[in-house]
């Protein structure tokens, strides 16, 4: 119970309110900063031991909290490399010296080297697909590399497998032996023909002629030729003969394929072995129809643009429309995001209180999803800050009145001796 104590208490109150006003100032200043998380001043009491009837006023201490775990409003933009996390995760970024940080500020743009860099100059980190589908290192930043998109080259993929689904006409006239396509003579005949595009090792398109020839009741011969070797007009004979053939047997009651052979295997010229799955062919009493036909592989082509999917995979889209995954963006979080230490540039590092960084991929647990073409707004609400400011001002005034009162009382006390 002392006037000094009381005055100190008033001062500590004024300091606390000043802190609070500082956070308000910060918040209002950063109310439009992407990925900014609102700070707030939390107060706690300091209590002096009281003896007998004497009350010793204590004080107030300030703890600054950041509302890191509070989601900001997503604002949509037109740039695919603008990223936002819709959930609890953080992007992993590094500064130019290579120190990793966590951030929610995802306004990335490619720099001169093709690295994705956000407004504060931090580079986006991700796992590369160079060695196949990446797995996250759960407890550290190992294996993460800066995303760099400029010099990605597409290698051509040769065709290795394909499917052909359709119906072969059940009432077809059988072609006699000796005139089959595999005999490859000018008089070769066939029942139906289709053709497919396949790719060789260099990604060149190879047109494959696929002949379906009825050889008897329920038996068909499938033969594949290279169209570029065809004779003009009727195609037969082909230079070099058939690339591959298979004899199929159909059940004459169900029209389904029976027997062991349900595919044809061939070697694409200058390419790899292509296995054409024919298991879904039927032989029914209608005409020749093709209901599905596909062969994998693709031609080489340069990157046209990048796409980022919701699970954080960065795809390169090539001129022919095909896409290839390049990087997978991981999301990190900590046990207590609000206890992360904020660093300049909207980044955070783990602190003793926050718990260790855990790394996973989007859509795992509470990490949330990666939203391409959107930015996370600051979660500051101006109205709240303004009201906080008014409250802080009033509290400050009240505290100063306490101090003034103490000072006045001291004055009275000093004048007693006169």
């Amino acid at each position: 119970m002392s006037l000094y104590g009381m005055m100190r208490t008033g001062v500590s109150g004024m300091n606390a309110q000043a802190n609070r006003l500082s956070t308000v100032a910060d918040n209002i200043a950063n109310s439009d900063t992407t990925g900014y998380k609102r700070s707030s001043a939390e107060f706690s009491t300091l209590i002096m031991p009281t003896t007998g009837g004497a009350y010793n006023s204590g004080g107030v201490t300030t703890t600054i909290r950041s509302a890191v775990s509070s989601q900001g409003v997503l604002q949509y933009t037109t740039s695919v490399s603008d990223l936002a996390v819709n959930g609890d995760g953080f992007f992993v970024v590094q500064d130019p010296s290579g120190t990793p940080y966590l951030t929610r500020a995802g306004a990335f743009v490619p720099d001169a080297q093709g690295r994705l860099v956000n407004a504060a100059g931090y580079q986006l980190m991700a796992y590369s697909y160079a060695n196949g589908e990446p797995a996250a290192t759960a407890n550290g930043f190992e294996g993460l590399v800066p995303v760099q998109i400029s010099d990605q080259e597409m290698t051509a993929t040769p065709s290795t497998e394909g499917t052909f689904t359709g119906n072969l006409p059940a009432g077809a006239t059988a072609v006699t032996a000796g005139n089959l396509p595999t005999d490859n003579t000018a008089s070769s005949q066939y029942t139906s023909k289709s053709s497919l595009v396949a790719y060789d090792n260099l990604g060149n398109k190879v047109l494959l002629d696929v002949y379906f020839t009825n050889t008897g009741t329920g038996t068909w011969q499938v033969s594949v030729f290279d169209q570029s070797k065809a004779t003009a007009g009727t195609s037969f004979p082909y230079t070099g003969g058939a690339l591959g053939f298979a004899n199929l047997t159909f059940d004459t009651t169900t029209g389904k394929l029976t027997g062991a052979v349900d595919s044809v295997s061939l070697t694409v010229p200058n390419g790899s072995t292509l296995n054409l799955d024919l298991s879904k062919l039927t032989q029914l009493g209608t005409g020749f129809t093709v209901s599905d036909a596909k062969v994998n592989g693709n031609a080489p082509s340069t990157i046209e643009k990048i796409q980022i999917s919701q699970d954080g995979v960065i795809y390169a889209q090539f001129q022919d429309g095909s896409t290839k995954p390049l990087y997978k963006i991981p999301l990190a979080d900590v046990q207590s995001p609000d206890n992360l230490t904020a660093m300049p540039g909207n980044v955070y590092v783990q602190s003793a209180d926050s718990g260790a960084v855990r790394i996973g991929f989007a859509n795992e647990g509470k990490l949330g999803s990666v939203v391409s073409g959107a930015l996370e707004n600051s979660n500051v609400d101006i109205a709240e800050e303004l009201t906080n400011m008014i409250a802080a001002q009033r509290s400050y005034t009240a505290n100063s009145k306490v101090f003034q009162t103490g000072s006045d009382l001291m004055d009275v006390l000093v004048n007693l001796k006169r």
Binding site: L74, K193, D292, K305, D320, G321, V371, A383, L386
Partner: protein, 484 residues
């Protein structure tokens, strides 16, 4: 919730509304484009306060396929029918005026008149004139038919070129669709373009399609030949420089598979190419055979006969003269090479009296042994022989046994029968094509009134959002004045 969130939500609402408005205005702009499918802007709300707009394209696969096949049928049928109209005019003339049938009837009348007064050489000359008319009708008919075939051939060549270029355009459109689908962007425009191209392709050949992953479309013809799969297949055709009777036309190859003109009668065709093939190798070729048979019938009917002497070509002659063509066997191109025997033709130094007396092939063939100027038996016999049933080659499409005159009339009947059938089919298929197009348009097209009412809704949403912003602004104003 906070005022900032409210502002942000209002802002994204404005964004969504303006996107929707742009879709609506696009719809209105393309309301009369038959290849445009209506877009619908679907709004989905995602993260707090954010709404995203997805554009969906109204499509009805079933109706579209129906429309495609109706288009093929109509296009083939109208090519067939208009070709037949042209053939009819160029071979038979208006009201059959230049048809062999009319010419033969005139010949028969001239013959009758001459037979009544055989001594009158003017009448004889008029018979030769009538015979010349018959010959020119047959010759002109042959020329017209073969010209028509040549012309159709070059039209086929043009159509094949068009088809090839359509297919390569289709490749571009298909690529755009695949790329867009893979990257998840709005592919509506590319789909519109691809569908429009598909409609045009379907006019040439009947197609069936299936789509693979990433909206990649594969086109095959109705009988399963690949037209387009990743890359267009080549459609090849070599036009002939000219046609002669009985000469078969060149085949159209799609992916090296010969395109068939299709089964069924002469009067229906599926796809423009098949229609033109049918015209070239079906109707026109059969007409030619019939003309050839008429010509053969005439040579036979006017042959000079004598006991124990072989029959010899008389008034009408041909390159195989003096023999007459074998009975009941088609001689290709005879209608083009038939001519009036110079021995009978006064203008070529011959004498029409030979027709009355016989003997163009030597004294053994003289029928008028007494030399009477009014000898009419042979003339009457010729008149009779025109009506006498004789054997005609059934491959020419007319199986009824009849005389030459009736055969010529039957030829007209046969052709008109096919033409009528083709016309009926064309009407039916046009109606179907129109109906399916209408159904498709109703299902996927734009109704401007509907779009306008949508626009009203959007306007209200926009106004409400703007109002919201204003309100929040007012509230913040109030707060700021409290601070000040």
């Amino acid at each position: 919730m906070s005022l900032s969130t409210a502002l942000s939500i209002a802002q994204s609402a404005l964004l969504a509304t303006s996107k929707q408005t742009s879709v609506v205005s696009r719809n209105v702009a393309d309301a009369s484009n038959p290849d445009y499918a209506r877009r619908v802007a679907v709004v989905t709300s995602t993260a707090p306060g954010a709404r995203s707009v997805e554009i969906q394209r109204a499509a009805n696969d079933l109706l579209f396929r129906q429309n495609l096949s109706a288009l093929s049928a109509w296009s083939g049928q109208s090519a067939l029918y208009s070709g037949m109209d042209q053939l009819d005019l160029s071979v038979n003339g208006v009201d059959n005026a230049s048809s062999p049938s009319t010419a033969i009837a005139n010949l028969q009348q001239a013959l009758q008149l001459y037979a009544t007064t055989p001594s009158n050489q003017n009448l004889g000359a008029s018979v030769i004139d009538a015979a010349r008319q018959v010959v020119s009708s047959l010759n002109d008919g042959t020329t017209a038919i073969q010209d028509f075939r040549t012309q159709t051939d070059s039209q086929i060549a043009t159509a094949v070129d068009d088809l090839n270029s359509l297919l390569s355009q289709f490749q571009d459109a298909n690529k755009a669709v695949i790329a867009g689908t893979r990257s998840g962007t709005d592919v509506s425009d590319a789909l519109d373009q691809r569908d429009a191209l598909l409609k045009k392709i379907a006019e040439y050949v009947p197609v069936s399609t299936f789509t693979r992953g990433d909206n990649d479309m594969v086109i095959t013809t109705k009988d399963g030949t690949t037209l387009f799969e990743t890359v267009p297949r080549s459609v090849t055709f070599t036009p002939s420089a000219g046609y002669t009777a009985g000469a078969p036309g060149n085949t159209i190859y799609i992916d090296n598979v010969p395109l068939s003109a299709g089964t069924g009668d002469n009067a229906s065709a599926d796809g423009k190419l098949a229609g033109m093939l049918k015209l070239r190798d079906g109707v026109a070729a059969t007409m030619q055979s019939q003309l050839d048979e008429i010509a053969r019938g005439l040579v036979t009917a006017f042959a000079e006969t004598a006991p124990s002497q072989p029959d010899r070509a008389g008034l009408f002659t041909w390159p195989g003269a003096p023999a007459i063509p074998a009975a009941g066997t088609l001689v290709n191109g005879l209608a083009g090479s038939i001519s009036v025997n110079a021995a009978f033709d006064p203008s070529a130094g011959g004498s029409a009296a030979l027709l009355r007396d016989g003997g163009a092939n030597g004294a053994a063939y003289i029928a008028n042994t007494s030399g009477g100027a009014s000898y009419s038996d042979l003339l009457i016999a010729y008149g009779n022989r025109l009506d006498q049933p004789m054997a005609f080659d059934t491959s020419a499409g007319i199986t009824v046994s009849s005389g030459v005159t009736d055969y010529a009339a039957n030829a007209i009947g046969w052709f008109e029968g096919v033409r009528q059938q083709a016309s009926t089919n064309a009407d039916a298929k046009e109606a179907l094509a129109t109906r399916t197009a209408e159904a498709l348009s109703n299902d996927t097209g734009v109704n401007v009134d509907q779009e306008m009412s949508l626009l009203l809704d959007l306007e209200h949403t926009y106004q409400a959002s703007a109002r919201m912003m204003k309100t929040v602004d007012d509230m913040l104003d109030a707060l700021l004045s409290a601070v000040g």
